[in-house]
Symmetry: D2
Subunit: 363 residues, 4 copies
């Protein structure tokens, strides 16, 4: 069992990059939830490659086809299955790769695991393309959460080391929408320009860059999550490492906290309008794995796209000898910006799952 997560809300992703279709089964959605398919499509479009040279030239319309679980635009309690056909497959680009694992990709590990039976054309089941069905699930979760006053948003915290501003102490649903509507999802658009230049420069060098995504959720009740291994952090991290290219996950100050003193990192509690709040949010809205009611803040590190145009050293699996590889075909000089809605999607799905468990008393 691998391509699945969730407890009450269970999400199973299937498909290979160059197979017939990719898709998702979502089991455990509450019944009677209206799904705004146009809004969902707008959300899905945020992860599609753009026309600005920052992304792959592969063209996919990525319109999900709902086979079950939706009746008259509403969830009906039964598992929802959405399928996205694979249209623009150019498998001929990938012939040499059968034998030569691309550095930084799962080609070798899939081969080690599945002994040559893996369908690794275009990255196979490990392809970033599998994030499209994830976004179907997460986009639906976002709509259901929003109806309950919980909003999830994200931006590029950095690309190639160029930082965006951080989210304010109390980001709003409006801010999330504003960023989501931008062609490049940053708070500081000038920083965004520099990031884009860095991506294009890498592309020009037949190379790639990575980035960090900051995601926040507002409107969560305090008390969500269970101690130790059932915490919000545990469950979000477990799911977020399922997004291809994510190599690190942190909450609140995260790794920066390790260099702070307790007096700097602790968030003083305070009473505001009769509610318990924190003056700062270094904890990222989570203490002991359980939400404080402050915004949940996390960051995910996305490595530079392993597919680059430069020649690389690799091996021949059949001959077990060293060789060189130059990857042709279409690839993204950076995937971090396209991964922004994916991180939102996964975060939303995990949070909805936890809220549906109903053992926190206030949802």
């Amino acid at each position: 069992m691998s391509s699945e997560f969730g407890n009450i809300l269970h999400i199973s992703v299937f498909g290979q990059s160059h197979g017939r279709a990719i898709g998702v089964v979502i089991d455990g959605l509450p019944a009677g939830e209206e799904i705004d398919l146009e809004a969902l499509q707008r959300f899905l479009d945020r992860r599609r490659p753009g026309k600005d040279g920052l992304s792959t030239a592969r063209k996919e319309t990525d319109i999900p086809d709902f086979l079950s679980g939706l009746e008259d635009g509403k969830t009906c309690g039964a598992p929802l299955c959405a399928v996205i056909p694979n249209a623009d497959q150019r498998s001929k680009d990938y012939g040499e790769l059968q034998d030569k694992p691309r550095p930084g990709h799962a080609d070798f590990t899939a081969w080690a695991k599945w002994g040559g039976h893996a369908d690794m054309r275009g990255g196979g089941h490990f392809s970033g393309r599998l994030t499209a069905p994830l976004c179907v699930a997460g986009g639906i979760a976002k709509q259901i959460l929003a109806r309950r006053g919980v909003f999830v948003g994200a931006h590029l915290a950095s690309v190639a080391g160029i930082p965006d501003r951080r989210f304010p102490l109390r980001p709003t649903a409006e801010l999330f929408e504003e960023v989501a509507a931008r062609p490049f999802p940053v708070l500081d658009q000038e920083a965004g320009e520099r990031m884009r230049s860095a991506i294009l420069a890498a592309k020009n060098d037949l190379d790639s860059v990575g980035g960090v995504i900051e995601c926040a959720a507002v409107g969560l009740p305090a008390g969500l999550g269970d101690p130790m291994f059932g915490g919000v952090e545990n469950r979000l991290a477990a799911a977020l490492f399922g997004v291809p290219a994510v190599k690190g996950v942190e909450f609140g100050e995260g790794f920066r906290a390790a260099a702070l003193r307790g007096s700097e990192n602790n968030d003083p509690f305070t009473v505001e309008d009769g509610c318990v709040r924190a003056e700062t949010n270094h904890a990222g809205g989570v203490l002991g794995g359980i939400t404080t009611g402050m915004p949940l803040v996390l960051r995910a590190a996305v490595k530079p796209t392993p597919s680059i145009g430069k020649a690389q050293r690799t091996i021949s699996l059949s001959k077990l000898e060293n060789t060189d590889l130059t990857i042709h075909g279409r690839h993204d000089p950076c995937v971090a910006h396209r991964a922004v809605p994916v991180v939102e999607a996964v975060t939303a799905a995990v949070l909805l799952d936890m809220l549906l468990e109903g053992n926190h008393g206030t949802f």
Copy 2:
């Protein structure tokens, strides 16, 4: 369900800091495994507070009592239960804390969740003390792994921003043992001295510091882990965020990878002695969630101990008004060094669980 993890090997931790006892149930251990109780005790002693002023003055011998699962020093197939009595409880130190949640602790979130019924004396079930039974489980897992040629070790990658060296490309079991035998678990002992000074300085200021732990596992087969949400990273992260005070987890270059180019971050494959290896290990031994056969390398960020001697702003839960709090009692000016074996323990337990699943072909 919260204080548990694992699939084939399932670990349940119980107890509160000032309750009668803490302990662990380990279900799914292979039968017939000899457990070296002296070696296990030496491992447990590594997380006990030392006498050097770097840790709490609370004294606990922490000798586990095995109620089940061990016969004649060997596992017998049935679940193993180990109990550690709580000896040195000074609950009177904690009276005021009933009403005043300590900033940075789970006091408030436990209250939000459990409505005042939580036993939060000494941190209750959220206390770092619960890492003792975790170390029982992980120490046993380490012995079983070692018998299969898999070794897990860790060191302090940094304290208060002061960095240790990183692990070499191919750390050895000997290196792990060497570091484990040191009173302060670093590679560069001179850096260790500076870390210790930073801890004592913070203590002197009635403050605390955090740190980063780097953990590695060698001897793993290639092909361990499942795609997407069943990967080695997903499952390790899910468990590691269960270690109190961990706020970030990364693999290989982790967050640094986000600032690298693909040509820098990709690890070229090469054939060595007829085996597939990587020339570098920026991936930390994991691609697509599946092990490459190179050393698994991860880092966990530990926040500065929230218990500090300085006065802090907090609230009264009963009066819902702002107030001040000065925490008395014993606490650690840093927990990162004591968390080193805990991170090893959790890593070992997760890896053994995954190896026992047996769907990778080579264990």
Copy 3:
């Protein structure tokens, strides 16, 4: 999470009877397994309604469309998704049923759970039609098991109280095939004739009958299953109660054992050709939840089809008052014979899942 089962091998079923399609995602199949699609189709055809008046007149070709997970006729490691379109839907037959829950069906409980949002046309997600994708999963599992020497077969142990012979002490793969090839799956064909008459008599009375299915698996190693809640019985029962209309599951002598004495019910051990065997198999091949190496034998009780042509008392959900209901449309006077391959399918899927866990040593 509901329409799913399995640990290493995870099976998710989706679809509604009158929705666009039904299907299944199978995650965790070993890679490189050849799937004989013609043999699979023959297996699926066993549960399709026949032309002999014993079953519904609904016509569905039920040919699965594989969207992922199969490459060149072999499993590729990635999750397999198979979709079966719904062709012959006559939803107009079901208008009145929106408001009047059919006795013995899930109409009322789905309404209680999902508050009127359920798509219950034709039984919705609770329809026996959902057993078609289950048979896709189980049919694949059967092929993989057979390659490892494990064979699963079943027959009608009784219909309307008319008993078939029981399986012999050591049924063979050949016997399983022989029964499977028959239009009516019994050992004693004369008893089968009487069962068919009973079904037709019930149909003639606008009524229905039930039956019991006996299923066996041979070739299993001893030592499969875990104690207490992880046993073969626990996991098979949990899955078998997912087959619509199953109301009882028993192993070996099952309920009959309750009326035996220990000296009658105990199976003496004996050595045969250097192997440990039992002289009898009242235990059904399971002791303490773990396989003995003798044939696994279970029985599942299938209730009479709740859809009958006779007028029945029910209520109007909208008016909350008593009313009558006569169900028109097509239905099966008995589903037990069609459920025979379904019980085989579920049994095979659970057994393969347990074998893949690999903690029994000999698979």
Copy 4:
């Protein structure tokens, strides 16, 4: 993972019959629930062997020792651990059994699984003794359920083929208490006398008898349970087969339904006091895996105790040859009556778990 069940409420049982102690960890209990320890002890005493010759002569006081999770008599949110020491162990009685597996026991299957490392003294982890900690968990669950208006009770439906009356259509909490207070848990005490005679007759013959337990739960909301594999029946069956000696589980009419016609087995709906009810309850309160709001009714078949005084044929594991075995030591001529509270306990634990999941709307 084996000796555990539950999703939100997770129960792990540990211990061997002749080890130091047996016990249970219960994770996920709601906080603030008062546990009446005296009532719990009375419940536990129901499964203890009596002094009437109907049970083993082994004497155990079976008073649980609470190590965690209870503060001032209330649950505190953290996992509850209860330990029961093993007092009266006579391991010398079991010497010969190391090599000679007892027919009908798990001795051989544990050996097949764990290769001789199993601690099978007194049945080891497979012993009926492990039902004592199960009763701790279930007894606590019963108290929490009762506070929410849900009551669970059971009686002996038959012993040695001698039937008790069945529960009435609507059993009450009072009836459950009345039966529970009797030394022999039947509805028809005259039938009970005949059952007792049958047990004593079997004992006199150095033999044993089995029985069937009928269990009911009243006060459940309609809408509890999920379709297909997440139903009430699936989850109860999965747990009930964890009770040693259970070989069959059925709901409502169960196996009898297979011989009924649809018109006999369907329960007409009716409106009573503005609520939807069924006129009969052949479904046992479950349709499509989901509760109807009618009493939940199930039966579990308990095989005759495999430990009998008569000589039996078995094998020598070391010599792999046939031999005879006469079991000395203390054993129960029947365990069905002692298993009555165990079935209640497991049923209560599963139901509480499902109610805590909170996806049914009305709890």
